[in-house]
Each structure stands twice: as structure tokens, then as C-alpha cells.
């Protein structure tokens, strides 16, 4: 891979890895008596590996390829493999935490293996490890094709990808050591947060510079979403993670905000991590790979515009629906509820736009599991956004909040929408990138599809049942006006659903393992085939990046 970099680029990579290594050493020295020190050594190891890799090929001959006539796909390839690796780790952790709730002794006699410490490894592993790598990798792919231009830089995409994975490793290892800010989906401590800001700024600059090279007057809709994902996640991340470290030699920090303001900021972040990480970015994926695979143009350009700005504007208001009936002032709760309901319009506009795009290609959905992944993802997107708006209504929320219904809702979105669109996109793009005829085994793709779908359905139904049951039990009164059930009564009632949930998760995990296997075998064994017309060009005569409307 290093052979594609020029000598100057390899030197730059070397310098960056040395600088990272030195900051790792500084962390290790400063935090000797603290988890910060262990994180320092992890940084040293990571940067050291990159350093050795680069050094090994520093004197290799200069690349001879003509950069003007090809895309730069190496970071995309590595990113996709990393995404699948994280999927297996993150989902594996998910099955384990799920099993712990059914059988609490299914753990080691060690502090790191308790539910509280490994649960964020699951959430961060799937959201950031799997989702984030899938987003970064596909965004590199999509921005080049829709701009018909090569990536603007050869070191920066590596910096973004590897830097982001270093963040994920620091996050996951930190949770096991008890390093957490306790803010859900923003648990990593201050030094990891600062590192992510640096990575993210480079990502944004790379994106804008690549767009600036485009051979198309218009920026394609997928890129609007990727852009919104990059920008708004940066704002959310910086504001919600404002904190004062207790000392520069330790990991611990204290949030700049407290109480009600902290709660609002956290859920403004939390809900918009869903909006701009788990929705906007993946809509970018959907808007490119679904029409491409179906070979049909997007049904409506106008609808794309409406839903894009609707999602960007409305979503931000919705966070306070996580705080109904709490000490948050009523007016903020009401705003959150109102906008959450209105959000259904742009959400369904997106889902409908995707499904209408398939008109005329439904026979392909039937025959091609890859396209079916994307179709079902759009359906789950529609379903879970409907459910989300419904649950944001105050009266519904009084029942659903604090119960497994929320967990089920999140997983309908995360498994049914985010993971399925990612798998569909990966199956679509892997043969193209590695120049293979098809995937190694279409049967395994088919198996994966049904495992994933049945796993999701089992999971979601289990959580609907447990959530609604528990919510109702909590509020049931006896005829004499006392509460009918103790908390432990409700916990006992959850057990069968917790078992079912673990089973659903295990099916889903099995599918992800098959995907990783299938991709590796495709790279190693599938017959070769050079793709036609997959190169940057300003010529109108070549095939458009995505099918154009008639």
C-alpha cells in the first residue's frame, strides 16, 4: 500500500507517526500512576506500528501510476475491513452484555467484565467502530465517484482513518479500565476527545478539498449528507465534551455543565448523534448505493432537498424528548416533542424516496440479497423514525421511558437501518474495489440477510414485550391504591425476553461473522474482473456516477 505514496508523502507519514508516538510517550510519562499512562503506551504501540510500516518502505521506488486517471481506494479498502472487524467485536460484546442481563454470573471474577464497564464497549464498538469506519470508508468512495475526482491527498485519508481507529481503541480500552465521562455515546475522556477533534478537522478539510476538485457542477445528494454528518458531529462533540481535567496527569475530568443544563446538553448531543452520525451519514450511503445497485435514478430530486433540510433543521430540536417529566423546564420538553413529531415528515420523505426509487427494479430486490439489504434498511428507517416520533409524545414516553422499549427502538434503528444499509453497501462495493467479478459466495450473502432480518425482528419484539410489560407493571395499582408490583417482580417478568433478546443478537452476530468471512474470501479467491469506467474524468460521455433521471 505504501508503494502508492510518493517519497515525500511517506516522509510526511513518518513525521506524523513520530509526533503521535512522542505524545504517546508524554502521556505514558505523565500518567504513570493512572489509566492515562496505559493509554499513552497504547498510543506508542499504535504509532510505532505505523512508523515501522512506513519506514520499511521509505526507500521504495516512486509510484508510476498516473494519479489523474484513477481513484485512490486503499484507505477505503482498509476502512471496510476495519468496519467488519469492529462489527464482530462490537456485536460480540452486545451479545455478552445481553446475556449478562439474563444470566448475571456469566462473567469473569474481575472488575472489567461487569455490565457497567462492557456495555459502552458494545455501544461505542458498533456505533463508532463499525458505523464510523463504514461511514469514513464509504464517504471516501462516494465522494470520489460522485465528484469524478481523486481524493485530495494521500496521507490525510490515512490519518483520518487510522486516527479515528486509535480513538476507538482508546475509548474501548478505557471503558474496561473504568475511564468514562458517563455521558452516553460520549464516554471517552478529555485527551481522546481532543484527538478526535484533530482527526475530524482533517476529515472535513479532506472532504471539502476533494469536492473542490470535482468534475461535476453540482454536489450530489449523498455528499450533502456526509457533509452534514462531518460538520454537525464536530459541533456536538466539542460542546458536549467541554470539561475540566482534574489534573493533566490523570484521565479524570469534570463536565463544564451540571444538572439540568448538563442533561439538556447531553441529550442534545445524544439525540443528534443518532441524527447526524446514525442517520445523515447513512442516508449518504443510501442515496449513493441504492440507486447505483438498482440502476435506477433517485425518484425525486425535490424530495431529497426537502428531506435533507428538514432533517438538518428539525432533528436538533428533538433531544429534549429524552427528558419528559423530568426537572427540565416544561417549555423545552414541549419544543422537543413538537419537533420530534414534525420530524416524521422529512424522515418519511427520505424513506419513501428510497423505496420509490426501486419502482421498476423490484425484481432485482427479489433476486439480489445485496439490494434487498438496502431495501429492508429503508423500510426499517421508516418504521423506526415513526416509532421515534411516537415515543417522543409525552404520554407515550411516560410509559416507554426508562424501559426496554427504548432499547428496542434504538436497535430497530441500529440493526434494521444502520447495520443493514452498511452491509448492503459493503457487499455492493467490495467486488468493485478489489476488482472481482462478484462476492465469493452469494449464498452466504443470502444467509446473512435472513440471519440479520430474523435477529432484528426477534430482538425488537422481545424488547417491545419487555418494555411495555415493565412500564405497565410499574404503574399498576391494587384496588386499595398501593403499587401492585415491587421492582423485583418486574425484573423477574423480564427474564424470558432477555433470553430471547440474546438469541436475536446472536443471530445478528452470526450474520456479521459470515460477512467478514465472505469479504475476506472474496479478496483472496474470487475471480478477477476489471471494472469498466471507474476512473475520474471530466468527459460527459462516460457513465454518470449514479444513474441520472430520465
Amino acid at each position: 500500500m505504501m508503494q502508492r505514496l510518493t517519497g515525500a508523502e511517506r516522509q510526511l507519514a513518518l513525521i506524523i507517526s513520530v509526533l503521535t508516538l512522542l505524545s504517546g510517550l508524554a502521556m505514558a510519562a505523565a500518567g504513570r500512576a493512572d489509566p492515562l499512562g496505559i493509554h499513552g503506551w497504547i498510543v506508542v504501540l499504535f504509532a510505532g506500528a505505523v512508523f515501522l510500516l512506513t519506514l520499511g518502505s521509505i526507500y521504495d521506488p516512486e509510484p508510476r501510476e498516473d494519479r489523474a486517471v484513477s481513484y485512490y481506494d486503499d484507505p477505503t479498502k482498509v476502512g471496510l475491513i476495519l468496519a467488519l472487524g469492529w462489527a464482530v467485536v462490537g456485536m460480540g460484546m452486545g451479545v455478552w452484555v445481553a446475556a449478562q442481563l439474563a444470566w448475571p454470573d456469566l462473567r469473569f471474577d474481575a472488575a472489567w467484565s461487569s455490565f457497567g464497564r462492557i456495555r459502552p464497549v458494545h455501544t461505542s464498538g458498533v456505533i463508532f467502530g463499525f458505523g464510523g469506519n463504514a461511514l469514513i470508508a464509504t464517504s471516501f468512495h462516494v465522494m470520489q465517484r460522485t465528484s469524478r475526482a481523486r481524493l485530495a491527498g494521500h496521507v490525510s485519508p490515512w490519518f483520518v482513518l487510522l486516527g479515528f481507529n486509535l480513538f476507538c481503541i482508546i475509548a474501548a480500552s478505557g471503558y474496561l479500565m473504568g475511564v468514562t465521562q458517563s455521558k452516553e455515546y460520549a464516554e471517552p475522556e478529555w485527551y481522546a476527545d481532543i484527538w478526535l477533534v484533530i482527526v475530524w478537522v482533517v476529515y472535513f478539510v479532506l472532504y471539502i478539498r476533494t469536492l473542490a476538485r470535482r468534475n461535476e457542477p453540482h454536489i450530489y445528494v449523498a455528499n450533502w449528507y456526509y457533509l452534514a454528518f462531518i460538520l454537525v458531529v464536530a459541533v456536538l462533540h466539542i460542546v458536549n465534551n467541554l470539561a475540566v481535567p482534574a489534573s493533566l496527569t490523570g484521565a479524570k475530568s469534570y463536565s463544564a455543565f451540571s444538572g439540568v443544563q448538563d442533561a439538556m446538553t447531553q441529550w442534545w448531543y445524544g439525540h443528534n448523534a443518532v441524527a447526524f452520525f446514525l442517520t445523515a451519514g447513512f442516508l449518504g450511503m443510501l442515496y449513493y448505493f441504492l440507486p447505483k445497485r438498482a440502476e435506477r435514478p433517485i425518484y425525486s430530486y425535490r424530495l431529497s432537498i426537502l428531506s435533507f433540510w428538514g432533517i438538518t433543521f428539525f432533528y436538533i430540536w428533538a433531544g429534549s424528548h429524552h427528558l419528559h417529566y423530568t426537572a427540565l423546564p416544561q417549555w423545552v420538553q414541549t419544543l422537543g416533542m413538537t419537533f420530534s413529531v414534525m420530524l416524521l415528515v422529512p424522515s418519511w420523505a427520505s424513506a419513501g424516496n428510497a423505496l420509490m426509487t426501486l419502482n421498476g427494479a423490484w425484481h432485482k430486490v427479489r433476486d439480489d440479497a445485496t439490494l434487498r439489504f438496502m431495501m429492508v434498511a429503508a423500510v426499517f428507517y421508516g418504521l423506526s423514525t415513526f416509532e421515534g416520533s411516537f415515543m417522543a409524545v409525552r404520554a407515550v414516553n411516560s410509559l416507554s421511558h426508562y424501559t426496554d422499549w427504548t432499547v428496542g427502538h434504538v436497535h430497530a434503528g441500529a440493526m434494521g437501518w444502520v447495520a443493514l444499509i452498511s452491509f448492503g453497501s459493503i457487499y455492493a462495493v467490495v467486488p468493485l474495489l478489489w476488482q472481482r467479478e462478484t462476492m465469493y459466495s452469494w449464498k452466504l450473502v443470502e444467509w446473512h440477510f435472513w440471519l440479520a432480518l430474523s435477529g432484528t425482528v426477534i430482538y425488537v419484539f422481545a424488547m417491545w414485550n419487555s418494555g411495555i410489560t415493565q412500564g405497565l407493571m410499574w404503574r399498576t395499582y391494587t384496588e386499595s391504591g398501593t403499587l401492585a408490583y415491587s421492582f423485583t417482580d418486574t425484573l423477574v417478568a423480564m427474564h424470558p425476553y432477555y433470553v430471547a433478546r440474546a438469541v436475536g443478537g446472536a443471530l445478528f452476530l452470526t450474520g456479521a461473522v459470515l460477512a467478514l468471512f465472505n469479504v475476506v474470501m472474496t479478496i483472496r479467491h474470487a475471480p478477477e474482473k476489471r471494472p469498466e469506467r471507474d476512473y475520474p474524468t471530466s468527459s460527459e460521455a462516460t457513465e454518470p456516477a449514479v444513474p441520472a433521471a430520465e
Binding site: L101, V235, W317, A327
Partner: protein
């Protein structure tokens, strides 16, 4: 009639589509548009919470966490207890009947970060303080299923043997003061000794602690061990103060007549 109602919206969409059509040829126009569109909601909902006085009630008797309680709170966060236990009783009758008066904003005024939580795999803990004895809490943390057979909570027996690191407490309290908790210089300087004193009754440390944090402060052998101050001491001290920082909720919400 319908046409008249719809037409302003139709014109708005037309305008939006035209503007967008021009903007999507410029990456910076899109960038600015996204930041503006996404900026409004957060600003309108969050900024006023810092300026409107009624957002947080006045509670003159509101007290601060002692160094030991704060250390316990840090352990609560470290172990991820917030993933299964909320600390926010909603304004719903069944919650008030089950857990006590609904939570007020002022109660988490000094909580950096707040631990309101989002899921109750276990019960709410906002008012768990002094609901159970120290001994019950310790036994329950060592082996939850020995006390509550149906429980799915992890065991935390290791806390009983983990000596509490009190050296870092002055730094921690100073950082908390930097973000707005009104600790005095004295409280910060003596944080380590005060933490040990709270778990060692009838020592000089305990006297100093009471002097700096008030007579109401709990001074006990929280974990039952008299030889040293453990993480168990800190966590139990924290659990026992939950809901006890101010009397305002009990005063403003009289118990329901049966």
C-alpha cells in the same frame, strides 16, 4: 380553499428548491447552510437554561458532596452504575409513590456531570440515601443475589479490598470548583484528610471534616472495616447521601393522604 391554504407552503418549497439548486454548486454555501440550520434548535433550547432564573430552584440548605462522597460518585461513574440506575424521579404519581418526591433541578445543581440516567434495569436511586443500612448496602454490593435473589446486578466485592486513593482529591475538588461548585480553599486543601476522616469516626480527621462540611455530615465506618478507608466506604457514603443534599423536595411536596 385547500389551494389557498397550501399555496404559501408550495411557494416556500419552490423557493427552497431554487435556493438549494444554486447552493449545491458551492461546497461552502452548503457548509454554512448546514451550520445555520442545525445551529438554531440547540441555541434556542440550551442557552436560555443558563439565563432563566426559574430553571433551577433556590435551596438555601443545599449542601456539597464531601470529598469521600465525591470519590464515591467518581466510582459510581467508573463502574457505569448510571447505565442501569436513573437518578431522576419523574412527575408521575406511580414514581412518586415508589421512589419519593419527584426530583428537582436544584438537587443536581452541583452534579458535574448529571447522572439522571436513561434506563432502569435496576430501580431509581435518586432518594436511596438512608433507605437501607450501611451494612445492607455493603452486603448487596458484595453479592447482590445474596440479598435480593432475583437481582441481575454485578458483584462489586473487590471494592471492599481496594484502598481508596485520597491523594487526588484536592485536584478533583479544585477542578469541580473551576466548573462552578463552591468549595472553599480550606475544603480543597484538606480534601484527602477529610475523606479519611469521614470513614474513621472519633479521629481528628473526622472533627476537621465536620467543622468544614457541617454537623449533618455522615461520619461512619461505612464498610464496617476499621483498619482502612476503602472504595466501598466511598461508594456507600455517596449512596447514603443521595436525595439528602436538600430538604426542599420533601418540604414542597407534602406526602399524599391515603
Amino acid at each position: 380553499m385547500l389551494r389557498k391554504l397550501v399555496s404559501p407552503f408550495a411557494r416556500l418549497f419552490e423557493f427552497q428548491a431554487r435556493t438549494h439548486y444554486r447552493a449545491e454548486r458551492h461546497s461552502m454555501a452548503l457548509t454554512i447552510g448546514i451550520i445555520l440550520a442545525a445551529g438554531v434548535g440547540g441555541f434556542v433550547e440550551i442557552a436560555p437554561l443558563f439565563t432563566i432564573d426559574e430553571t433551577v430552584e433556590e435551596a438555601p440548605d443545599m449542601r456539597l458532596y464531601t470529598p469521600l462522597e465525591q470519590a464515591g460518585r467518581d466510582i459510581y461513574i467508573r463502574e457505569g452504575c448510571y447505565a442501569c440506575h436513573s437518578q431522576m424521579i419523574r412527575t408521575l404519581q406511580d414514581e412518586v409513590d415508589r421512589y419519593g418526591p419527584y426530583s428537582l433541578a436544584v438537587e443536581s445543581k452541583y452534579d458535574h456531570p448529571m447522572l439522571w440516567g436513561s434506563k432502569r434495569t435496576g430501580p431509581d436511586l435518586a432518594r436511596v440515601g438512608e433507605k437501607y443500612s450501611d451494612d445492607w448496602q455493603v452486603q448487596h454490593l458484595i453479592d447482590p443475589r445474596a440479598v435480593v435473589p432475583e437481582s441481575v446486578m454485578p458483584q462489586y466485592a473487590f471494592l471492599l479490598n481496594a484502598e481508596l486513593d485520597t491523594e487526588n482529591l484536592p485536584d478533583r475538588l479544585a477542578a469541580l470548583r473551576a466548573v462552578g461548585v463552591p468549595y472553599t480553599d480550606e475544603q480543597i486543601e484538606n480534601a484527602s484528610a477529610d475523606a479519611r476522616g469521614q470513614a474513621m469516626p472519633e479521629t481528628d480527621g473526622a472533627d476537621g471534616l465536620v467543622e468544614r462540611f457541617g454537623d449533618e455530615t455522615n461520619v461512619r465506618f461505612f464498610d464496617g472495616r476499621r483498619d482502612r478507608v476503602t472504595e466501598m466506604d466511598a461508594l456507600v457514603a455517596y449512596l447514603q447521601i443521595l436525595g439528602g443534599l436538600t430538604d426542599l423536595p420533601a418540604e414542597t411536596q407534602p406526602a399524599r393522604e391515603e
